[in-house]
């Protein structure tokens, strides 16, 4: 029982990071019907930019305690938001009317560039955040089920960001416009909605969340390298597909399911089998519901 609870908890924890990254994939797909392969690498860059900031703080003679996340996390989010908008302007907008394949190739190219840049600038070795930024101790949830304080804070941060996004998308004018644009560009234009700016807004938010996830994942797992975008990012992409790509709650649900299944597979069968178990289950979900769990219910495009 406690073993199950512990594994579920781990699953939710890793799943919330998958979900945070999956949101970036799903939001871009929603407005452009484009799979932004570069998103995983922007997420990876979040981990590296955080690393640079923390190293710089150490080099300045300050001891980077957990408090450094308060300025560094928003800082990394802002830098990645700008990178996301730049990516859209240079790699995607010029190809907007070129059909579906050219932007996809452009996305792959951008992914390779971001990855090569990280490898060349930081080297191929594993990086770790200084241990002083972790919060000490852990919390006993029930019985022997425990969770590290850092882990708890990271998960809460992920959940908080997702809630903020949910409120933004459902309670604000611009958020509603994002949903309108994802349903129908031309009709959104007829309403006076500046579609290009709304799309840029999506490229602002997705990478910002992805960058935050990058730092939180690096903090939670201790070490990472330039392939983080492919390994972890790809799973987040799968989570978006399972939830129903283009659907925001779907990305959150898909991320949590993937995390929990993986964690249970690792706990009950073998850590070596966890990926296989997770992917088989996901394949089964997609066979049953090809559009994903919360895939589009109404026909939206003519």
């Amino acid at each position: 029982m406690e073993f199950l609870a512990q594994n579920l908890l781990n699953g939710v924890s890793i799943g919330s990071f998958y979900a945070l990254v999956a949101l970036g994939y799903t939001m871009v797909y929603g407005v452009l019907r484009l799979i932004n392969f570069a998103h995983g690498d922007l997420f990876m860059w979040g981990a590296f930019l955080g690393y640079t900031a923390l190293t710089a703080i150490s080099a300045a003679g300050l001891s980077p305690g957990p408090w450094v996340f308060v300025p560094v996390l928003p800082g990394v989010m802002i830098v990645l938001a700008l990178a996301g908008v730049l990516l859209e302007r240079t790699a995607y907008r010029p190809l907007r009317s070129a059909g579906r394949l050219p932007p996809l190739i452009s996305a792959l190219g951008a992914a390779f560039i971001l990855q090569a840049l990280a490898r060349n600038l930081y080297g191929a070795s594993y990086k770790t955040y200084p241990s002083s930024v972790s919060l000490p101790g852990g919390v006993r949830i029930l019985g022997d089920v425990t969770m590290g304080t850092t882990q708890i804070v990271a998960v809460l941060a992920a959940l908080l960001l997702m809630s903020a996004l949910h409120v933004f998308v459902h309670r604000t004018r611009v958020g509603t416009a994002m949903r309108a644009v994802s349903l129908d560009h031309d009709t959104a234009r007829l309403m006076g909605i500046p579609v290009d700016r709304v799309i840029a807004g999506v490229f602002l938010i997705g990478p910002a969340l992805g960058g935050a996830a990058g730092m939180l994942v690096a903090l939670r797992y201790g070490s990472f390298d330039f392939t983080l975008g492919w390994t972890f990012g790809l799973k987040a992409f799968i989570a978006a597909i399972v939830g129903g790509i283009g659907n925001i709650p779907g990305a959150m649900l898909g991320g949590l399911i993937l995390g929990v299944v993986e964690s249970l597979g690792a706990g009950y069968i073998s850590p070596q089998w966890k990926d296989l178990i997770a992917y088989v289950l996901l394949a089964l979900i997609l066979i049953a519901r090809p559009g994903g769990l919360l895939g589009e219910r109404c026909a939206e495009r003519v």
């Binding site: 509603t176 349903l183 006076g192 500046p194």
Partner: protein, 240 residues
């Protein structure tokens, strides 16, 4: 006639290799209802899409109160006082009725008093929408979706309203209702350019009309005259 509020001169539109509009000219006077009738593929929707900036004409001029709209991005046209309720209703299916109306009021920005006033106006025209305001637009019936599409277009406080096939796919009783509402909107001072395949209904409603055939204006005149015109009766009213 005084200066037209909307003046379209010699408009040419191409879709790739297809010459969809071949020099169409048309005017809409302030306070008029003008019907645009014609068969499938005559270029009616193309003309409306060109006016609201969704497609760019290759040649010709579109003047709204004397100012050119050509080259203006679509999202800036509605702010000039021209709304377009597109063919096929195109309500935002996954948004609620209220959210659809809020999107229609985009150009009013955050001006709550004006938005509330327009919403009141739309709800009094279409009480059905008030009942369903929290429902997703995709769950509405065809007639209700058409009401929403028109109501949404009215949210921007337009002086000119382009209506593309508002009667399409509706039961006769609903067609009556929609046309009655169009008349009411007109009485409130909005100039209306009405595209219709239901020529009889449109001509009964309009002051003047144009008949579009393969991208050109084939006939035009007072609606009452076109109703009794031999060619119109044959081709569009299913008579003779």
């Amino acid at each position: 006639m005084s200066e037209p509020i909307l003046d379209i001169r010699e408009l040419h539109v191409w879709y790739g290799q297809i010459h969809a509009l071949k020099g169409a000219s048309l005017t809409l006077g302030a306070g008029e209802v003008v019907a645009l009738i014609g068969g499938n593929g005559a270029g009616k929707s193309t003309l409306l899409r060109a006016i609201s900036g969704l497609i760019r004409p290759r040649e010709g001029e579109i003047l709204l109160r004397g100012c050119s709209l050509v080259g203006l991005p679509a999202h800036e046209v509605v702010g000039r006082g021209l709304s377009h309720a597109p063919e096929g209703r195109k309500v935002f299916t996954a948004l609620s009725v209220e959210e659809n109306l809020a999107m229609g009021a985009w150009v009013l920005g955050g001006d709550r008093t004006r938005i509330d006033r327009q919403r009141e106006r739309v709800f009094s025209l279409f009480p059905r929408l008030l009942e369903r305001r929290r429902q997703l637009a995709g769950t509405l019936s065809g007639g209700e979706q058409q009401m929403l599409a028109i109501g949404r277009a009215l949210m921007a406080e337009p002086q000119v309203l382009l209506l593309d096939e508002p009667s399409l796919g509706l039961a006769p009783i609903l067609v009556e209702r929609i046309f009655a509402t169009v008349r009411e909107i007109h009485r409130a001072g909005v100039s209306i350019l009405l595209v219709e395949q239901n020529a009889r209904g449109a001509l009964a409603l309009a002051d003047r009309a144009y008949v579009l055939e393969t991208g050109r204006v084939a006939l035009s005149g007072a609606a009452a005259d076109l109703l009794v015109d031999e060619r119109v009766r044959k081709a569009y009213l299913g008579e003779g």
